[in-house]
Symmetry: C2
Subunit: 120 residues, 2 copies
């Protein structure tokens, strides 16, 4: 698919997609057979990566962190074990964030108590 469709599929603006591609988050490929243009094509894997980017961003990961993850995930250089280690370490970070969120929730629950007790 071309960038327009990719944008519609993912809900991410074309400008942002280009920014991401330029940043190195993923890569579209130009059709070798067509020499008249250099339109880039994106496949389902790119869609998946963008879903990861969206989700991870929403919960506070930076593009640099996400890029690092995605890069390792599809690297030819790395052994299967190393790739798995990278992804697993990200899963641990996600767990840490879930823990952090439950802490915030506790603080907010205490806020409610304080309000109910007229303490603020």
């Amino acid at each position: 698919m071309l960038i327009n469709e990719l944008s519609k599929r993912t809900g991410v603006s074309i400008a942002t997609l280009r920014y991401y591609e330029n940043y190195g988050m993923f890569k579209g490929v130009s059709d070798e057979k067509v020499r008249t243009n250099n339109y880039k094509h994106y496949d389902e894997l790119v869609v998946e990566k963008i879903e990861i980017i969206k989700g991870a961003k929403e919960v506070g990961f930076t593009l640099a962190e996400i890029k690092d993850l995605l890069e390792n995930w599809h690297s030819e250089q790395l052994s299967m074990e190393k790739k798995i280690a990278v992804v697993n370490s990200k899963i641990n970070e996600v767990d840490a964030k879930i823990h952090q969120l439950t802490e915030v929730k506790k603080l907010l629950a205490r806020c409610i108590e304080d309000i109910e007790n007229g303490m603020c």
Copy 2:
């Protein structure tokens, strides 16, 4: 306590604390009795607020969102019911983020599977 102690208590740099105060996240008070300076004093409530800021930031809330929460929490203008409603809506957002994180976790788990199956 003064800003130096506040910084040490919270682990947030003095510059950032001033930035937060300036942004309206909380307010220190100058001692009325001391007219020679306008050093600002911060109490335990400020420490608590900063803990909320830290936690909420870490999981992707913006300062504007957090400010909104903190402002309502200690507003004299709002009824107890409204305050509780504001905090509860934030708790719902936290739950939504937890859900989002579990989705990301699923995607990452699928990454692992893909890697194990040699699909990338």
